[in-house]
């Protein structure tokens, strides 16, 4: 059930009073209501896939307890390895079986049957959380928790189907410490405000850019040679579409969690303000970057075994990260491109001018240049992420880099042009929602992300306080989003 849908808003309209009543009667009832609601939320799409979710939870919790009991023994190690393999196998089957079979058929000329499997929504997210849980368990880092707490940790609906990827260390202590489960206005109001901000980003800002990106990518996929302006416009429109889609989703998830008194980890922090590709990955899908760093990059060698090993680890991590986003060669190339960029950033870091050095003007110019170059690279690479196949991505890349495709007769609908300055203003100059809601500490780790200095007027207008103007802004954002819900495109990250 997408957050940005009438069905979800109706779901919340029912859940909140039910939860209110349940929480008054005790913590257990409140917990059960939220677990039940989360399962309804998940099963709304295809009820049958609840079996996979519940089965995965039972198996992983049981395995975790056995690993805990036998930690340090060969049997414990074996069970742990089996658990990881089972989780990866589950994702592998649903996500990559068709891709692998098609690749083998195409490369080796075999005639393998290509399985047509419908991907259970959110499988990557709930599986990654459980892989992290097993790894932490094998290291002895997990305190004993009740089965219901574990179920809650995995299925809590704000983070179930598209992240943030929450670690056990972030959620289980909150569950253990919580005694009062009642709804509180001080959680509800900022939660609703952040949810409304996210809904506005999704339904207005992202979906306004989407038709232009869709139209141009669709034309390119159908064989039309896009001119360089059209190809760059396609990439820029998609860059804004996915930015506001994911930023909006992350805000909604954190806002929803907070409504019920839980803090989810920060997941998105103005990535287009990044002054370098390493900075970008510290700001984009923060919890996935963290997962890949902790469970892939560091085990592959990280940065402590010399530059060649670091480069290999980066390329491997990012290429697999690309594959995680989708079973297609274009996703692999997208990840590889980012791996290359990160490797280059590591290699050239000693000789690159530091952003923080020099006078204020020099620093500002250097920062602006780094931000611009990073944005151009990220936007360029999005073509490989969005294009339906390698051929389309290649054709568009040729147009973007070599100004090829000048025979294009595409008359680009210029309707998006007046809004482009607004998009750039938002992503480059305005404070983000982490900063605007910072005082309410709604997300975990938000204090690690420095608050930039903004003009007084911006702070007064955008920072959420218990003032009438903040509530008016929230009501406008919610109402506009409500009426913008028609003709929605689905969240991009749901497919991962």
């Amino acid at each position: 059930m997408p957050f940005a849908s009438y069905a979800f808003l109706a779901f919340m309209a029912v859940l909140l009073p039910v939860y209110y009543l349940a929480a008054r009667s005790g913590a257990r009832a409140a917990r059960l209501v939220l677990i039940g609601a989360s399962l309804v939320f998940y099963g709304y799409w295809i009820p049958g896939y609840l079996v996979i979710l519940v089965g995965s939870i039972v198996v992983n919790y049981t395995l975790g307890e056995i690993v805990r009991a036998r930690r340090g023994t060969a049997a414990g190690q074996l069970l742990f390895a089996l658990g990881i393999a089972a989780n990866l196998g589950l994702i592998g089957w649903y996500k990559y079986a068709a891709f692998i079979a098609e690749s083998i058929n195409s490369l080796l000329g075999f005639g393998l049957d290509v399985p047509h499997v419908l991907l259970p929504i959110g499988i990557s997210f709930f599986t990654f959380q459980q892989v992290g849980y097993l790894v932490d368990m094998s290291k002895g880092q997990v305190e004993r928790s009740r089965f219901l707490d574990y179920v809650f940790f995995i299925v809590f609906f704000p983070q179930l189907i598209a992240g943030p990827i929450v670690t056990q260390a972030e959620m289980l202590p909150q569950l253990r410490a919580r005694t009062d489960w009642r709804l509180r206005a001080a959680n509800l109001m900022p939660g609703i405000a952040l949810f409304s901000a996210g809904l506005f980003k999704k339904t207005v800002l992202s979906d306004m850019a989407a038709p232009y990106a869709d139209k141009l990518f669709s034309l390119a996929a159908s064989g039309t040679h896009l001119g360089p302006v059209d190809a760059w416009m396609a990439a820029i429109c998609y860059a804004f579409q996915i930015y506001f889609d994911f930023s909006g989703y992350s805000d909604m998830a954190i806002g929803l969690g907070f409504m019920f008194g839980f803090r989810l980890p920060i997941n998105f922090h103005s990535p287009y303000k990044a002054a370098g590709i390493r900075d970008f990955w510290r700001r984009w899908h923060i919890t996935l970057s963290r997962f890949l760093r902790d469970y892939l990059y560091i085990p592959l060698g990280g940065s402590r075994h010399g530059m060649p090993r670091t480069v290999l680890a980066l390329l491997g991590t990012m290429t697999l990260g690309g594959l995680w986003h989708g079973a297609g060669a274009n996703f692999v190339i997208w990840g590889f491109l980012h791996g290359l960029a990160l490797s280059a950033a590591h290699l050239f870091r000693p000789i690159m001018p530091k952003v923080g050095e020099g006078g204020p003007l020099v620093r500002a110019i250097k920062r602006a240049a780094y931000v611009l170059v990073t944005f151009i690279f990220v936007t360029f690479s999005w073509v490989w992420f969005r294009a339906p196949d390698v051929g389309t991505a290649l054709a568009m890349t040729r147009s973007m880099v070599f100004a090829a495709g000048t025979t294009s007769f595409v008359t680009f609908d210029s309707g998006i042009y007046p809004y482009l300055p607004l998009y750039f203003l938002i992503v480059w100059a305005l404070p983000n929602t982490n900063e605007n809601f910072r005082a309410h500490r709604m997300a975990l780790h938000v204090e690690m992300y420095a608050e930039r200095r903004y003009l007084w007027l911006l702070r007064e207008l955008l920072v959420f306080r218990y003032l009438k103007r903040s509530v008016v802004v929230t009501a406008i954002a919610f109402t506009v989003s409500w009426f913008a819900l028609s003709n929605l495109s689905p969240f991009i990250y749901f497919q991962f």
């Binding site: 009438y6 410490a177 919580r178 005694t179 009062d180 509180r184 206005a185 001080a186 959680n187 509800l188 109001m189 900022p190 609703i192 339904t203 907070f258 008194g261 839980f262 803090r263 025979t407 007769f409 008359t411 005082a439 500490r441 218990y466 009438k468 903040s470 509530v471 008016v472 929230t474 009501a475 919610f478 109402t479 409500w482 009426f483 913008a484 819900l485 028609s486 003709n487 929605l488 495109s489």
Partner: protein, 413 residues
């Protein structure tokens, strides 16, 4: 300040109290906004349902998937067109009104898929016993396998029937919501109000205010000379020319036809006349034969009449801008959609009405607009081979002469 959302202290209690007041204000603001929106939407809906605004309503781009099924039920048309934007832009209720006295409704929607159109047909049949003729744009029932079954904005809960064609519950509530509190209602209101303002206050005609009356500028079409070389001069093609051979007729077409047959509604199936100026010309007509065969088999079990019209071959309409140089098209919009004058000619051919004045000066083939189901299979194949051959420059001398003598007098629309 508290470090945990559930921490309790005097400061927390004060914040809780302030937050409660803010929540009440938020609920009040949203409630008032919704109230205003509901009243505004109902007022605009009242206007939109009036017969004199049907051109504006039925040819408006956007939100048609929500609005048209509800309007059609209220309007109870006797003749109804189903399809996608190729049909939406072609059939203007006002100009069609000059060709028939029957109530007409254009139910086509942007990008309408086979599934969506089949559902619209079934929904309409469930409540409209007055329907006598359904005009199906067969191209809308052909799709690639990777195309979506339905597009965003398609809301099955507002249709009278479910996916199996059975009556479904809760339709009234879903429609009440769609008309009063959905984004579609507000979007439609704004669009409709804008058109109305331009027509009623600024005095603009519907030719200026409706996007369907946009006109193709053939001077900007880069493939006109190539099309002329291939179709008129017979120059060999280096690439295959077709109109989406990968599109397959979906089972929804047969389901829709059977539903119409069961309701004793006559059916006219037609092929969109695509502009030849893009140098896309269906030489093989293999899809046409597939459609012909399917209709023949469906007709065997159908009490009502099924006719089939193919306007998609080089003729006086589709060759506009190719056979005769012209800057402003009468028959096509700049995106290639047939304009209302094309719809009038097609409607006249389908219903046997007198040709509209846009057809003055056009030299049609003697068999233009014939019901292809009156031909046996061999005769149909001969017809298709003759018309498809034109894509390769193979004309009967009289036919080419007739086409080149055509003049399209601009009626100023």
């Amino acid at each position: 300040m508290s470090t945990h959302p559930n921490h309790s202290s005097r400061e927390d209690e004060e914040r809780e109290s302030r937050a409660r007041r803010m929540l009440r204000l938020f609920a009040l603001l949203v409630g008032v906004t919704w109230g205003v929106a509901i009243l505004t939407n109902l007022a605009v809906w009242h206007l939109a349902a009036q017969p004199r605004y049907q051109s504006n309503v039925q040819m408006t781009v956007g939100w048609a998937r929500i609005m048209k099924p509800i309007l059609a039920d209220a309007y109870k048309p006797q003749i109804e067109v189903f399809g996608r934007s190729w049909a939406r832009d072609a059939f203007d209720p006002e100009t069609i009104g000059g060709l028939t006295v029957k109530r007409f409704f254009n139910h086509a929607v942007s990008g309408g898929t086979a599934y969506e159109n089949r559902r619209f047909v079934q929904s309409q049949l469930a409540v409209n016993p007055d329907l006598q003729l359904a005009i199906l744009n067969v191209n809308s029932f052909r799709q690639r396998l990777d195309e979506p079954v339905a597009h965003p904005g398609f809301d099955p809960s507002i249709l009278n029937t479910d996916a199996e064609g059975r009556p479904q519950n809760g339709v009234s509530a879903a429609r009440a919501f769609a008309i009063t509190l959905s984004g579609a209602s507000v979007g439609f209101d704004i669009k409709f109000a804008d058109i109305l303002y331009r027509q009623e206050v600024l005095g603009q005609s519907r030719f200026e205010t409706l996007a369907s009356y946009d006109r193709m500028d053939y001077a900007k079409r880069p493939k006109v000379s190539a099309a002329r070389a291939h179709i008129i001069d017979g120059a060999a093609r280096t690439t295959a020319a077709s109109n989406g051979d990968e599109n397959r007729l979906q089972p929804d077409f047969a389901i829709a036809v059977k539903a119409l047959c069961d309701a004793h509604v006559d059916i006219a199936v037609y092929e969109t006349p695509f502009s030849m100026s893009s140098d896309q010309c269906d030489a093989t007509k293999s899809q046409g034969l597939e459609t012909y065969d399917l209709i023949r088999s469906l007709q065997a079990h159908c009490a009502s009449r099924i006719s089939y019209y193919d306007f998609n071959y080089p003729n006086a309409i589709t060759m506009e801008g190719v056979s005769r140089p012209t800057d402003k098209g009468i028959f096509y919009r700049s995106d290639g959609h047939p304009r209302p004058p094309t719809g009038q000619i097609m409607f006249a051919a389908i219903t046997g009405s007198a040709m509209p004045r846009q057809a003055d000066g056009l030299q049609f083939d003697p068999d233009f607009g014939i019901d292809l189901m009156t031909l046996d299979r061999d005769a149909y194949r001969a017809w298709a081979a003759d018309k498809g051959g034109r894509c390769m420059g193979k004309w009967r001398p009289d036919d080419l002469q007739r086409l080149l003598q055509s003049t399209d007098s601009d009626p100023g629309q």
